[in-house]
Symmetry: C2
Subunit: 457 residues, 2 copies
């Protein structure tokens, strides 16, 4: 008789695991059931801002629909089914069919993949029965927001809360839809995923788009009118709003896992080993936005909910379930985003993160161009490096610049991944031609300057 794999969560991590397991074990050997609470499988949540702005169509965000999973991978995908209980002793799950009055189904498993993702952090002040307050974490969230934006009366003023990636991307999307946009951030600068000295450049770009950026602001509540949101109250003023978008982050969706006794780590995510096995729970795997992972630079567990990790972790779990061997080695905190034509990227640790980890370090910031400086419209590019005192080891890097800047973070990411020192980095053999870089690539210029500082301290 075939084993049975049950997957909880039909997005990147869960469906990658399912597909990989299927590649290695056919249906006579492994039956696969995937429960998904929403209406979609395997979609690019990171693309939602570009759908809201109108740049892409929502169905383009769906990488693989349920029918394809069923037909090509013989995966029994059950949409609108919310798993409500995991019973590890009886090795079964209980799911509720949300379309049929909550009818419960009970299915046993040999292997279980927990890939329930993340849930948005909803601040207390944002809990309201009034319409017009949205997260943008799932495609279902995005649909609800689009519907509101196109509704009657048409919203004209948006407040976006939180200046991280999602907040900044959503603020831009709203501006592109013609709304007046206020971005509210608690910290010193928007784009809190880079240090404030780099974030200042992002703020300038947001200003340039006509976004009203307010930093150092704490929100205290909402005002409503006729069942609709009408404003966001801060300690000082009330900002009028017909729609409020929450970019206040997410936390791992682990309630079910915790109830079943699966181990939750210090970050709030599920603890797994390098093969994505849940610690202490044979036959149970976890992957994606619900797990914590190793930060390779600090050696500490960290929670980094990103599609790129979810895909890899799901793949790793699936290969192992399929009888292969794969490990997920951890992360180094690489991320990129775009604000209008400004590109923003980071890898490794920010200054405060490096300090908390116990490192002493030097920092260096250089301005260069992403092409030869004499090239027409040579694009400005700022590179910041953080290097350990003494060893000179690269601990973190940040880039803010125009065209062709952001993906240079990968060069720095691979250097950091390999524990390179800025000394070694300054002699790296990188590609040079005038349309692509000055003869000293900005990455090399930064490394060179870091060497000078290290040698003079």
């Amino acid at each position: 008789m075939a084993d049975r794999l049950i997957v909880i969560g039909g997005d990147a991590a869960g469906m990658s695991a399912a597909s990989q397991a299927r590649r290695r074990r056919d249906r006579d050997d492994l039956e696969i059931i995937a429960f998904e609470r929403g209406h979609f499988t395997s979609y690019s949540a990171c693309g939602i801002p570009y759908w809201i702005s109108g740049l892409v169509d929502y169905n383009e965000l769906i990488i693989r629909d349920p029918e394809t999973h069923r037909r090509e991978h013989q995966i029994d995908v059950r949409l609108r089914h919310e798993v409500v209980k995991i019973d590890l002793d009886r090795r079964e799950v209980v799911a509720r069919d949300l379309e049929n009055g909550g009818r419960e189904v009970r299915e046993s498993f040999d292997e279980l993949v927990y890939a329930a993702g993340a849930v948005p952090t909803v601040p207390d002040w944002a809990r309201t029965d009034a319409g017009g307050v949205f997260g943008v974490q799932t495609l279902d969230d995005g649909k609800a927001l689009r519907h509101w934006l196109e509704g009657d009366p048409k919203p004209k003023r948006a407040v976006v809360v939180g200046g991280g990636y999602i907040g900044v991307e959503m603020a831009e999307a709203m501006i592109e839809r013609g709304l007046a946009v206020t971005l509210v951030e608690r910290g010193e600068q928007p784009m809190s995923t880079v240090d404030p000295d780099m974030g200042r450049m992002v703020r300038d770009a947001l200003d340039g788009l006509g976004i009203d950026v307010r930093t150092g602001v704490t929100i205290t509540g909402l005002t409503t009118e006729g069942g609709r949101v009408s404003g966001v109250r801060t300690s000082e003023v009330t900002i009028p709003a017909d729609v409020v978008v929450l970019g206040t982050g997410v936390r791992p969706n682990v309630r079910l896992a915790a109830e079943a006794g699966l181990p939750i780590g210090p970050t709030g995510g599920i603890r797994t080993d390098l093969r994505m096995r849940v610690i202490g729970a044979p036959g149970v795997w976890a992957a994606g936005d619900c797990v914590e992972t190793l930060h390779k630079t600090t050696g500490q567990p960290v929670y980094v909910p990103l599609g790129t990790h979810a895909n890899k972790q799901g793949r790793v779990a699936g290969i192992n379930i399929g009888g292969g061997y794969a490990t997920f080695p951890g992360v180094i905190g690489t991320a990129v985003t775009r604000v209008c034509d400004l590109e923003v990227a980071r890898t490794g640790l920010l200054e405060p993160e490096a300090r908390i980890a116990g490192f002493e370090f030097i920092t260096v910031t250089v301005e260069s161009t992403s092409t030869a400086s004499y090239f027409p419209d040579a694009a400005k590019m700022t590179v910041k490096l953080i290097a350990e005192k003494g060893t000179g080891r690269l601990l973190g890097a940040q880039i803010v610049g125009r065209s062709q800047s952001a993906k240079r973070i990968d060069t720095l990411a691979v250097a950091l991944w390999n524990k390179m020192t800025v000394d070694e980095m300054s002699m790296l053999d990188l590609g040079y031609a005038p349309p692509y870089s000055p003869v000293w690539d900005p990455v090399l210029v930064a490394a060179r300057k870091a060497v000078d500082i290290l040698h003079s301290t």
Copy 2:
């Protein structure tokens, strides 16, 4: 009394060495004389094609002019002075002043930097007294070509010989100037710096520009008319030409060095240690297009005349002369170029190079996009990897693609530099956001596929 440093060659390597030495030792401690045969110092030879095409002005290619070197670095730059002899026993050089009837000057040195660069490989058939045949290696070469192109009668038909970087870039520059262009390449495909399967895509791009590409063709001679070139003879036909540009490569300019008894390696370049000291010649340094260097992947000496290496090697020599410590660790063969809007890049070894080095390997080629595939105008990108059998270590990588493709070679270059295996690479934490990459970056997709192949062989 101050020591004296003499530098032979006033371009990237020589002047980097001079400037770095000056940064560490003031004029009371070190006198610096630099002899340069041509009219310019410290310029971007790689920018010449973009000057010929009219994209940039030639004076923008000059990074630092002689006057700046004299004023800011107190370097006694002597233009139009050709060094004709190095006497190691007497520790002096003899230079000829080309502007003053060849008057000879004799200067002693304590330290000598030999940075005489490269000389173009001129095939026998190209030696002619007729006008219209040009190399494009120096700014002086570029000036002569520009003059011819703007002369009377105005050339209408160009033949570019050699399908390497320079040839391809020059062919494009000529097309942009409105000439009819034929590109003649001896090998199977143009862009011989990548494997033929990748070169085929470059050929398509050249075809698209209207360049008449002829491969597998051997040139036998020139035809001339009234003291001007009129055509290029091949074994089969004569191709009419009012101007012929040689992109037939360069070789190290080592005549003087060899006459002085400095050691020449198997590649024809001068042999140095990692600090850029000429082997067995105390106080003599060499850097740039006249030296051979270590290929970090094969462990063999290699000749790679590129501005990026020249700058680094010059810097290393200068730091050491200045009393600091620096080494040039070698190269891995990274290079990028652009053909119209097609981006071409490589790092590490091509297939035949890997074979000659003694490696057994697998290759993998994947097609992907440089942004999320659902992004408007998602640009196609092809990645080829060469990985060692057994270990899975990356040996080489090639990229051909549209926008945002080429500089991804740096990600692969740093991975290769650090001897990463494709297994490790497939889990790298690279930047992901829809404007910059699919959720699996093309680099990761290629690594993943290489892993599959390695595990199945």
